[in-house]
């Protein structure tokens, strides 16, 4: 049983009279611990696919089995629980809450899940140490550099110890060297066993993934497993 199984997924957006076929007959199996890059031209459906995988969106047709369980038919609240426990998101624009400090942003998923303050503080402190953010714990997002912001976002995405990390162009707003740091961070998490699915335009980052999925016009054009490039 694969961790993720997509079968004949269709996603159609209706805008007035016109229809946009964002995903057509997408079938995909992803094993636990895989490192997968989703690539393709703009508008090819990469983000739509990632949103579906993250249970932020529902397909118009097809089935999505997550860890053997059909999650397409779950209620919104049940999907929220799955997101909380199993899925971590990293966004291109970081999506930090501006009024909360770095530590509070990292602790947000724990707070939403109702974890007791004492355990929360301890896990946040550990995360701050793991991601080299001890000196920045009390800083607001606006007082952090882009790379630091994305590190806070990744710390937040992993604080619940999710089974998979979904990253939509995580380095898109960063310069080359900070982008490489963030990539290394994500790869380290993947090395620890977390499934990593990255949408990227960056061929360098794509080349580092062990599996590359190329999308075009809502469909999977190519799906190739490769030996990891030498670091």
């Amino acid at each position: 049983m694969a961790q993720i199984e997509l079968e004949h997924i269709e996603r159609i957006f209706r805008l007035g009279d016109s229809e946009v076929h964002a995903l057509r007959d997408v079938s995909l199996r992803i094993e636990a611990g895989e490192y997968l890059a989703v690539m393709g031209p703009s508008g090819s459906g990469k983000s739509t696919l990632l949103n579906l995988l993250g249970l932020l969106d529902r397909p118009n047709a097809g089935h999505y089995r997550l860890e053997g369980r059909d999650v397409t038919t779950l209620s919104a609240d049940e999907q929220a629980r799955v997101r909380s426990a199993r899925i971590g998101f990293v966004f291109q624009s970081f999506h930090l809450v501006p009024r909360l400090s770095a530590a509070e942003n990292i602790g947000l998923p724990l707070m939403l899940a109702g974890v007791a303050p004492a355990e929360r503080a301890q896990r946040v402190a550990q995360a701050l140490a793991d991601f080299g953010l001890e000196q920045r714990a009390g800083h607001r997002p606006e007082e952090l550099s882009g790379g630091q912001r994305q590190r806070v976002a990744i710390a937040r995405a992993t604080i619940m110890r999710p089974a998979m990390l979904l990253a939509d162009e995580p380095t898109g707003n960063l310069d080359r060297s900070t982008g490489q740091e963030v990539t290394a961070l994500l790869e380290a998490l993947n090395a620890g066993g977390t499934t990593l699915i990255v949408v990227t335009h960056d061929p360098v980052m794509g080349a580092r993934a062990r599996r590359r999925v190329l999308m075009e016009d809502g469909a999977i054009r190519r799906d190739e497993a490769v030996a990891p490039a030498a670091p």
Partner: protein, 402 residues
């Protein structure tokens, strides 16, 4: 999310946009303060009037000529066209009722007073010896009208403090003479200063025997008769006896109205109570307006924080959690508004009491409770719609918003 965390999160969100929160608290507090101040004013007026009437005494009955029907039209009101007048003989007859203690007939008019070259217009009250005790007035000099037959028109006068000061200045007033119209009167007493009361100002009054006043105004009728029963318990019996006597004297017809202090007080209490309620209603409208502002402000908050709501959803927040967070935020702002309004309102009432010491402007407890309660209910009620809107956002589209 635990209740404590929800509270902290909502409070931080409310503090995150200070101007927005301050505006909402202001609107809410103005509404609450308006209710508190206006009801304090209304209730203060009620208490003031009731207090003034209470000073008249609980066992007092006032007899007016004419029948005031309260329970619809009486067949009798068609039979007699004009009611018989009240006379001093009626007053004398009332004195014979067993439950009646004191009687003071009243004939009232205006006359030009003059003494020592000074002239002024004043109110002349024709009455009898018992008037002083009936009205609970006191003398500062001399004595009051002597106890004598109601029909004796002796030329005696008791004057109010203002008249004394104007006509006689620092010199003694008792024993001096004063002209009222074409009559010469001897001043035998001066009323102690009483200040402004209800109806008539006793400081500017000239009191003469009732027959003297009737002669001055060329009439043999009375304005009204004031009667005091033998204690509060005897009030009902006294009224019945008086009705019997007056009916017999007026050819079997009761063409007078008896008013007791209780009835007057009850009426005033009702009128001013209704006024207070009306004022509270108007103030409550401002609370409703504040409620609409709450909704507007919260809708803006939802729009401003759309991306944040999308993020919370991605991090595993359920719709219910997001709804609760926004509702708690609206509730916190409403509570703050109600608290500030409560303080503002009490400060306002205090200022009124300072400016008008005679007015007991204390906001009634029910009004304060209603204002604060309404503030919370409107804040929450108008917060529901924005909170539901937040919870129903599509996470993908919310996240796409920057």
């Amino acid at each position: 999310m635990s209740p404590a965390d929800t509270l902290r999160f909502a409070a931080a969100a409310a503090l995150g946009n200070r101007l927005r929160s301050a505006l909402m608290v202001l609107a809410m507090s103005i509404g609450v303060a308006a209710v508190v101040v206006l009801t304090a004013l209304g209730d203060g007026a009620r208490r003031y009037v009731v207090g003034e009437f209470a000073a008249l005494g609980a066992s007092l009955v006032i007899v007016l000529p004419g029948r005031t029907e309260t329970g619809g039209v009486n067949p009798g009101s068609f039979i007699t066209s004009t009611p018989r007048d009240l006379t001093v003989d009626d007053a004398a007859a009332l004195l014979r009722a067993p439950s009646v203690n004191r009687v003071a007939p009243l004939a009232v008019g205006n006359a030009e007073l003059s003494s020592g070259g000074r002239v002024r217009e004043a109110m002349v009250v024709g009455t009898s010896a018992d008037y002083l005790d009936l009205r609970k007035m006191a003398l500062s000099a001399g004595r009051f009208l002597p106890r004598e037959d109601f029909s004796r028109a002796s030329g005696l006068a008791v004057i109010g403090e203002t008249l004394r000061a104007e006509f006689f200045g620092n010199g003694p007033a008792v024993g001096r003479s004063i002209r009222a119209g074409d009559r010469r009167l001897r001043v035998i007493g001066v009323l102690a200063p009483a200040g402004q009361g209800l109806g008539m100002n006793s400081d500017e009054m000239l009191i003469v025997p009732v027959a003297t006043a009737q002669a001055m105004f060329d009439t043999n009728t009375l304005f009204r008769i004031m009667v005091e029963a033998r204690g509060r318990e005897a009030l009902g019996a006294a009224q019945r006896e008086m009705e019997t006597i007056l009916r017999a004297r007026h050819d079997g017809e009761l063409d007078v109205t008896l008013i007791s202090q209780d009835a007057v007080l009850g009426t005033f209490d009702r009128i001013l109570g209704a006024l207070t309620l009306g004022v509270a209603g108007i103030a409550a409208i401002s609370l409703a307006v504040a409620g609409i502002l709450v909704m507007n402000v919260m809708l803006v908050a939802v729009t401003q924080r759309t991306a944040e709501i999308g993020l919370l959803m991605a991090l595993g927040a359920s719709g219910r959690l997001i709804r609760t967070a926004f509702l708690v935020e609206a509730a916190l702002l409403s509570i703050a508004g109600a608290a500030v309004g409560f303080l503002l309102g009490h400060a306002g009432a205090w200022a009124i009491r300072l400016a008008y010491p005679v007015l007991p402007a204390w906001p009634p407890a029910w009004a304060v409770a209603a204002a604060v309660g309404t503030a919370l209910v409107t804040g929450l009620g108008f917060g529901v719609m924005p909170a539901r809107r937040a919870a129903r956002l599509d996470p993908v589209q919310a996240l796409a918003r920057r």
